[in-house]
Amino acid sequence: MDIIQIAGLGLTATMLIVVIKGKSPQIAFLLTVLVGVFIFIFLLDKIQLVISLLERLSVQAGVEMIFLQTILKIIGIAYIAEFAAQVAKDTGEGSIASKIELAGKILILVLALPIVQRVVETVLNLLPN
């Protein structure tokens, strides 16, 4: 039933925004941001469920948390950067949106740095000196 709530909220907000936009575009923009945040909060519960399931699985499989942590960090960075970039795009600030996306990409790559280092070390260990 959650999807009906979310869809209803979204459609109501859309209609309101269409009505308001002509008179005061600022309020319309604030409404957009507000609805976006609300939908995000709705989803937090479900995200929590998915994360706990993944954690349980990894514990059962005997895999330590390093991989899971890295993966979850990637998801988090991707979603937050995406959300902020969309909001910025909605207001017509395309350049700020692209900067936020750039920051997200760089942060994901920074997460990868230690992994790259390990891979390179291991491959170099394979080669004869």
Partner: protein
């Protein structure tokens, strides 16, 4: 061998499964390529983990934080643990206490020696035993007793003159108790000197005379 293989496979399958889920839930934008790159690296690392195992490292004990990368790959395993540092500190503290007590004893010995030699130039101090009460840190707190061993000073290189042979008197001896009386006299002299030394040292260290013992040693 089988357990290692099954562990390895289990880890690999789980990470690939996670990668697929991640792929599904990622937002559709440029971010996806980067996330895929990181996942690919992780899977490569996990596939290489048997080789890492050969060089004695487990992939699960590795430090994947950025800080360890920035500090030049100094892994936590090389740093001493807190217990080791504490044990070292304790050891150093005990050594330090021992050294302090030794220095304190040496100072007292030197002082006693000076007192005795200034008072009785013919004597020298052989050794001084110091008894003290330590406080809770093991440092000397109060001086309990002193045992001073003294002996007659011998000048370096001096040869004791052989005493002249006493004239032999044949006949009835006038002082038959010759040697015992000389011995008793020597004892009395020793006792007097010892008492003098005791008084002097007791005054110096604010002890009672009974806490100080003077022992004669034959030179």
């Amino acid at each position: 061998m089988m357990t290692f293989l099954s562990d390895w496979l289990r880890g690999l399958i789980l990470v690939i499964f996670l990668a697929v889920i991640l792929d599904m839930i990622l937002p559709n934008n440029a971010m996806q390529r980067y996330a895929k790159l990181v996942m690919g690296l992780l899977i490569i690392l996990l596939m290489l983990s048997p080789i890492l195992k050969l060089s004695g490292k487990s992939i699960y004990q590795m430090d994947f934080t950025l800080d360890s990368l920035l500090t030049g790959g100094q892994h936590k395993a090389n740093l001493p643990t807190l217990e080791q540092i504490n044990a070292q500190g304790e050891q150093l503290r005990q050594q330090n206490q021992g050294l302090t007590a030794e220095a304190w004893k040496a100072g007292i010995t030197q002082n006693v020696k000076q007192i005795v030699e200034a008072q009785k130039p013919g004597l020298t101090v052989d050794r001084v035993e110091v008894t003290y009460t330590p406080n809770e840190q093991g440092q000397p707190q109060t001086l309990d007793a002193l045992a001073v061993t003294v002996k007659t000073r011998l000048e370096a290189g001096s040869v004791q003159a052989v005493p002249d042979v006493a004239p032999v008197v044949i006949g009835k001896s006038t002082d038959s108790a010759d040697s015992p009386s000389t011995l008793a006299q020597a004892d009395r002299r020793h006792a007097e000197t010892a008492a003098a030394i005791r008084t002097q040292i007791a005054a110096e260290y604010k002890l009672t005379a009974s806490q100080i013992r003077v022992v004669w040693r034959d030179s």
